[in-house]
């Protein structure tokens, strides 16, 4: 019962402080929302790249390129043979014209170049999914076929992408950590300033017998409110920016196809980001409030 009365008091006092020191609160909220907006942007990119990599990893698609002089029949025979092998699925014969069309879709420049060339330089190819465990056996089975020019595996590409992605996520985590520190530091200092501005009141409250928690807790509430509002505003700005960038710049971006399919963060991520900003508010303000001295 006493606890609820106290909590009500802390809340009311904290809210009053929050609205009273308007400029300082706004400054704090501004810094937090900028940080959170950037963190939201980065998390969105990270989330999408991660999803793309997982998709690639779970469904690796191989391409078998055949020699230039391979006939359509030879190609068809080979793909029929491949379908009988264990661990192989989704076998698809890709004729040169179709291959060129796909290439041109993905890389518009390739289409332009092709127009200036006479004929189609692409060979017949076969696309298929190979279970990782069956890969060695499939390679063995293809050995005797002289029409097989090369087998293109996504692994090299994937592992390269992964190492780039982990380097990028380390960088993102570093920047996020700096932004979090900067926000906590801002809240800490803003609360310090409001404490200084209310030193007189704090002394009076202590002289009439107020417990430290009654003096400190409202500042923590104030910092939490700053964190919460900064977090909500920042998350909204961040996801708004993603939508704008997606609509204006990424919609026709063909080079990295997943970028045009970029999605905003799921609710759980937003919840995490808001919790993070509340935690920043609590931490920064509690640190500042704990430095209030006894009179």
């Amino acid at each position: 019962m006493k606890l609820f009365i106290d909590l009500g008091f802390f809340g009311r006092e904290g809210w009053a402080n929050f609205t009273r020191s308007r400029m300082l609160s706004l400054f704090s909220i501004l810094i937090i929302s900028i940080s959170i907006a950037i963190i939201t942007l980065f998390s969105t990119v990270f989330f999408n790249v991660d999803n793309y990599l997982k998709e690639m990893e779970n469904n690796p698609v191989y391409s078998i390129f055949l020699t230039q002089d391979t006939t359509a029949k030879e190609g068809r025979d080979l793909s029929l043979y491949l379908e009988t092998l264990k661990g192989v699925s989704d076998v698809k014969l890709v004729m040169p014209d179709e291959g060129m069309k796909k290439l041109a879709d993905r890389f518009p420049l390739a289409g332009e170049i092709q127009k200036t060339l006479e004929g189609n330089p692409l060979p017949i190819s076969i696309q298929l999914r190979i279970n990782t465990s069956a890969l060695v056996a499939v390679r063995q089975a293809l050995k005797p076929y002289s029409i097989v020019e090369s087998i293109y595996s996504p692994h090299f590409f994937l592992s390269q992408l992964k190492s780039i992605s982990s380097a990028v996520s380390f960088f993102i985590a570093l920047i996020a950590a700096i932004l979090v520190l900067a926000s906590v530091f801002t809240i800490y200092n803003v609360i310090r300033i409001t404490i200084l501005a209310r030193q007189n009141d704090i002394a009076i409250m202590q002289l009439v017998g107020a417990d430290m928690k009654f003096i400190r807790a409202p500042f923590t509430v104030e910092g939490t409110l700053q964190g919460l509002s900064g977090g909500i505003i920042g998350a909204l700005i961040g996801s708004g920016l993603i939508s704008v960038i997606k609509a204006h710049y990424l919609a026709n971006f063909q080079y990295l196809p997943f970028l045009s399919r970029i999605t905003t963060l799921p609710v759980s991520y937003f919840a995490g980001i808001i919790l993070l900003s509340i935690a920043m508010g609590i931490f920064g303000s509690t640190m500042a409030a704990s430095r209030i001295d006894y009179v």
């Binding site: 019962m1 006493k2 009365i5 106290d6 009500g8 008091f9 009273r20 007189n200 009141d201 009076i204 409250m205 202590q206 002289l207 009439v208 017998g209 107020a210 417990d211 430290m212 009654f214 006894y294 009179v295």
Partner: protein, 220 residues
């Protein structure tokens, strides 16, 4: 209730405010503390509710030695002492009502009780109609009465008042003194610092006289 044992107070710059003070004030007493300005009256009161610590000797109030109090014990110690400050010390950005309710909040009184209790003490000092005003909208005398109401609100064991009638006209001063007597009759120990000699003569109470930090007893 209040004991000073060989108490001296020397402020930082070597200002000696109290010198070898020995005195006891019993539970339920009504005592005046008087003397010219600069004699050490305010310092005497500050030592009791531990706004200041003695430089030498010790002060015991409510059976607690103020030097031995840990920081965390100070709030509970002060809750039992009501203080009317010479400069009032009202919270500037809170209304009269909020200034008084604040104390009750801090003491954890239930919400239903706050309003009634706050208006009760405001009525005692005759300012219930100003409950929604801010301190700066009140005259010095009115602020003083609010400070008195605040000191009374939680029925403290000890009431300390520093020049509580300094800003009041004679009639009002008498009313406030009558109020202090009423509080005193309910068992609260009352100590009033004042240089109002008429008042002291009229009230016929135990009086402590301070001069340049030296304390003497005068009984009438």
């Amino acid at each position: 209730m209040i004991h000073f044992f060989h108490v001296s107070k020397v402020y930082e710059k070597g200002n000696r405010a109290l010198h070898e003070v020995n005195v006891s004030i019993g539970k339920g007493e009504f005592v005046f503390l008087t003397g010219p300005s600069g004699a050490g009256k305010t310092t005497f009161l500050k030592l009791i509710f531990r706004e200041e610590l003695p430089s030498y000797g010790r002060v015991v109030a409510n059976n607690q030695n103020t030097i031995a109090l840990g920081k965390r014990q100070i709030p509970d110690f002060r809750k039992k002492i009501g203080v009317v400050f010479q400069d009032f010390k009202l919270l500037e950005n809170r209304t009269v009502f909020e200034n008084i309710v604040f104390i009750l909040n801090v003491l954890g009184y239930p919400a239903s009780f706050l309003r009634d209790r706050a208006f009760y003490v405001l009525k005692l000092v005759g300012l219930q109609h100003r409950y929604d005003d801010y301190p700066r909208q009140l005259s010095g005398g009115e602020q003083q009465r609010i400070a008195i109401a605040r000191a009374l609100v939680n029925e403290p064991l000890i009431l300390l008042a520093d020049e509580p009638t300094g800003n009041l006209d004679p009639d009002l001063s008498l009313e406030i003194m009558a109020l202090f007597e009423k509080i005193n009759s309910r068992g609260t120990t009352v100590l009033i610092a004042t240089h109002d000699r008429d008042m002291i003569r009229r009230m016929r109470k135990r009086t402590l006289y301070l001069d340049h930090g030296h304390l003497q007893e005068h009984r009438k």
